[in-house]
Symmetry: D4
Subunit: 213 residues, 8 copies
């Protein structure tokens, strides 16, 4: 397990049979009781893959919108600072939820802020208080990818920007949003891969982790 | 002359000698008096090229920041609606001024709004009244190129977005800003070529032109 | 509703269930009678998604070719100037019709000009009169994307260029047409995203809107 | 010498010293009199490189605008069909002239048609007679690169399209023009490399060559 | 009909119903007897689309490998020079055959040379005689796209290069082959769009056409 | 001043005269004594621009390798966690030092780790203790850009990855390194723009900032 | 057969019928007994294509994970040096196994090293002995593609790097891994096409071949 | 020193002062006599940088065409197999010579084959004997980059392909040649970075190294 954090299994490109085998190995490794702190996340699991995992680990928590499963199902008691995850609309929600749940299972308190696109600034201005309470903010955005830069201009906390492949044409599968975020006028924005909600939530959880001393 | 509008000479890639010849031909064509309505704009003229033109047409108006010369020097009496040109900072100013002067020489009233980047929303919100008085708005932006989308969300008038090559690294000489603008979440944004202040001002002047009837 | 214009729901990437929920919310908001001026457009709706919407809003107008639904079905009484939409052939027609209907539902008179490719100039020259009556022209083109530049050279009105993904090979899903349009030799061309008929029609409707005073 | 045609020396990236050596070798190979049919073209020679060549071959023909030198200076007696070279403006002229002179030195009659951009269709329509007399047409264009497709729609002869790096921003050093030409709606267009006037003129000369029988 | 040549209908992206309508219109236009010289080619027709066309025009010639149909079925009596079409292997054959049949239906004699890849030079050297008899050569190649340059070095006739999307990974759907061809070391190569067998055959037929006088 | 942090002036693309004006305005704003907490950084200042600034603010601290000036010259008393900046070699040092000094002037303790490329793993393994003491690590790398992923696999702290334009050929001015970092196998990596040492140091300083409570 | 090595048939893009014909021709060519040294590999064969081949050549060896078939089934007696194939995880295994089997059928001893990603350096350090016994090493990696550079820094033998399309978003179907490998800081890395396990194994087998003398 | 091979100092992007310091450190490390086997190569050294190095190490061997210096000047006694370096013309010679000298200083016998472009196959066929004597072949090529694939089809030895930035327009600074080489139809080609003569020579020297046993 990487430095004390939950282990992740990336399900895309693995067959249901392969996932069943991974889940079985996991269950057997922990046959003698609830593993203390040894949580596993299954990410990017579609319905078929989720079913294969639940077959073997029926008590796993399944979050279909985020395409994520966690086993054992309970997240750890939260420590450290608050992680806020923000996005503009329903299309970006699966990635935003993946980020939020990852941060939650890595041990942070989380809050989700939706429907805050830059085409209607009043909505994001109305949520500034929530954003300012965060120790780390994940901002998920497709199309023009402009939201993280606007958020970073409103707060002092680090912003983790997650571009999504939402869009069409000249969005080039998230490339446009990615470039926007890398060119953000406001400093304080770190970018992860397109659609990488897991990575965004993981980085935010690390940023908001309780300080060692 | 294109359908009643000023003629433009693109000076980049022309030698001072070639420009001197063009200016001479122009002067000779109008040797018998002030041409009524036959205005010529010289765009993208650096100091050396400007000097060559002024040599032949000493009464031309020279705007060094916009790298533009106009002859005859007086813009026409303004008609139609107001054209507002907005940009974030000093780096984008040459392109913004080129857009403004082009619109002015095509016969529109113009206003310039500077220092309204998206990293500080209060500044742009403070200028909403000006923006709402416009019949057409030119928004010039480099780096993340997010400003036109924010402006389009605040007004009903058409927004002409001009990406600039201001930036470095993953701005890819204006490509990042261009893609952001094409993917704008708010409708009502038409995009022109990178650094094309002339084209942006021209289109805005057409949009704000007096209606034929 | 954005500044007095119709609201739009982008159906691609939303499930039929999600669209049914959106349609239901809409119907309930306006349960007490015909909403005055509160029109909603459903764009990019394939057959399955259209059926889900019609299930809830059986009186919605469905235009399958344009993949568009409007509710309430009647467009507003037209005001402002004429919007002409032009394209070369049947492949570009879905996007062209989406642009035309959007402009119509935003309150403009519209006219459609088809079969005017640049490989046969006589056809476009035969339609110059129609083009010159427009307050705004939407030109839709794939492959070489050269049509908007040719049209802009023939008229004084602003041209909104919509590149389409029609083509193959080095058309790169509309990228070639997009670049052509951004590099148009004739000024007066504003470009929107690839296949963005909705955005093109919206911008044209704004350009041709009745002047405030 | 490649199959009976003139040999070419590409001067860009060769030092004046290297070119002087090449010219000397050439002069010595033909010390005993005028070489019958063994013509050499020096292409892409700037002033400094041209001077080095003229130093050794003072009777070479130097065409500075086309950055080309030919030795021996006289082109062959023309045979085969007419090659017409067309372009929109002065910026494309160096490449157009390189194409024309190459075709001329490979043994074709040539004609140059300038100032025929697509933003003013009447000019190109006025030259259709000339275009229709050609056995092969070279069309040189930068920026939107739309001219070859328009020409190909007007004639039956093959069109050789030469994209140029003229333009800025989203012209991407000729990439936009190149893609336009590859996606030409009219068939009958073959494309060569960006700024490759030599290659365009060579191909046209081959197309218009006298038939073997 | 474009300047005396066969008309082409591009079937990709048209529905079977649309094609049936086009075929019906065609049949009706020529109800009164065999059209003299008015040939139509249907290109890129998969099995379903071909069936729709044959439904209406049962006597059309169908070449499934080339995905092409011709009506009326007989090609014209050949005139002009020979068109040779060459490619390396079976993967490129559909495009090569599309080129050959197009040239054939535009009135040229044609010959097909297959299995001449650059990884085995002896095979292409064994076919030099055939290549040298051609008035125009179409070379079709995917992957490294090196074949047209090798052929152009062996002959005096113009070479029309058709890149194909055959390959994977860094072939980028034909982009790699396209760039190779544009950068061909040997002059005399004109390039058309990726997979554009129709365009390649059309251009070759124009090059090899009987000279007007 | 952005939320309590130092203000930055990006000097690239500003003339010495413009910088002299900015420096003068700054000096005048604080004429009455040392500004408490109001530090300004001048970034990307070459020798000529640095001289212009030092002309007006002779007591500014100038760090030529990092192309940075700070005024007033003393950094604040450090608070929060340690920021470690790591890079492979001397070519990346200017960007690494820009990151380190930015973090230092934003109030963090900093340490620099150089000569730790991935081609010699023992060197980086020898520095793991230092890396593990950090609250935030900035990893600067050009060419293959693989170092941040290796570091992230060794520590629990967040890693800010700064790609540089160091390299040639297929490094595409830092694009290759940027992509590597975005695709890092180890989670916990946030990426900023190419050569953006300022942004990397700023984000790390925010991550390592003292917690509000 | 290419210079004494096994012949390969690339099955992707060939129909089962075409493969059946190729297999039949092969069987007939060798009807009179086991071909000495004339081995054929069928690469990139999915289940349907493999079945077609096994239909005709029932004794062929089928390796489904590597999507490879060999006939006759026995590899040659190994000669030359050892080829080691290394990769990080299960996603890259099909390509790694294709490389290993190709090298094996070309006559080399092979060893497979899996689960050695750069995010956990201890695993690769634990396998250094195996890597140092190799005469040639194939390293297969997707996503960040950093593994070959790390391996090359640990050994003296040549490293053949095979990028894979494993990843998502900014991995751009293997492009990111490819660029990383081309920019490897450690010398001694030769790169082949994305997902080209066959080519990687072939090159490694040539490198490790017995020396002629 | 990397596993027994010469150390290399990449001079591009290092100042003459930095190089003088590196050379001084080197000289001091070996003050007590000729270092046995500890050779250093300075690569990509222009005239100014070479002078700085020669200032400190006057007995270094300087090869200006290859932009390379070696110290101590004598290459080791050659062992292992022959390395042949091939290229088409004078433009690629600097990179080819850099490859050859690198292989020579790493301890191999080398031979240079120039003027073997694919546009004249007879020249390369005339050199097949030389090519077949090699244990490893480096093929250097710009523009279409087709030469390595042709060579690989003629020999059994591994081919190291070095793309160069020689070319213009759609050669995209060596990108076109790079892609051609990655898509080579003949197996047995490993590719290194654009213009990376050092890397190509290094890899070839490793391939041709004496076998450990
Ligand atoms: N959704 C995700 N996106 C990106 N990386 C992931 C994701 N889920 C897991 N990973 C990473 O992939 C690794 C597991 O890959 P695998 O061994 O193929 O299941 C984990 O250690 C994570 O670092
Ligand atoms: N202007 C040009 N553009 C493209 N290719 C050229 C040009 N001039 C010469 N060439 C080609 O380059 C070859 C000569 O190259 P070189 O041996 O380097 O002088 C000639 O045989 C031509 O095929
Ligand atoms: N070296 C740098 N790299 C990236 N962004 C910078 C850099 N220096 C300053 N900035 C940003 O650019 C802004 C100042 O830009 P300007 O007003 O043009 O001087 C600052 O607020 C920073 O956010
Ligand atoms: N998996 C593979 N990847 C890349 N190239 C391959 C592969 N398999 C076969 N080849 C090459 O493709 C050639 C056969 O292609 P084909 O004639 O289309 O079957 C062989 O000679 C190999 O050089
Ligand atoms: Mg902030
Ligand atoms: Mg608006
Ligand atoms: Mg068109
Ligand atoms: Mg116009
Ligand atoms: Mg034509
Ligand atoms: Mg030829
Ligand atoms: Mg090594
Ligand atoms: Mg070989």
């Amino acid at each position: 397990r990487r430095r004390g954090y939950a282990e992740a299994v990336f399900c895309e490109g693995k067959s249901p049979a392969q996932l069943r085998a991974i889940a079985t190995a996991l269950r057997e490794r922990h046959a003698d009781g609830a593993p203390a702190g040894a949580r596993t996340l299954f990410t990017r699991a579609d319905e078929e893959r989720a079913a294969a995992i639940l077959d073997v680990l029926p008590d796993a928590r399944h979050e279909p919108e985020a395409r994520l499963l966690a086993w054992p199902p309970e997240p750890p008691e939260p420590t450290g600072g608050l992680v806020v995850v923000a996005c503009a609309g329903t299309s970006d929600l699966p990635v935003a939820r993946e980020a939020e749940l990852t941060a939650r299972y890595l041990g942070r308190r989380t809050e989700l802020v939706v429907d805050v696109g830059i085409a209607g600034l009043h909505r994001i201005l109305a949520r500034v208080d929530t954003l300012r309470r965060a120790a780390a903010i994940v901002v998920v955005a497709g199309m023009d990818g402009a939201l993280p830069g606007v958020v970073a201009g409103l707060v002092s906390a680090p912003v983790v920007a997650v571009p999504t492949s939402v869009g069409y044409g000249a969005s080039f599968q998230g490339m446009a949003a990615l470039l926007t975020m890398l060119n953000s006028c406001a400093p304080g924005v770190g970018v992860v891969n397109i659609d990488n909600g897991y990575g965004g939530g993981h980085l935010a959880a690390q940023i908001a982790a309780p300080r060692p001393e």
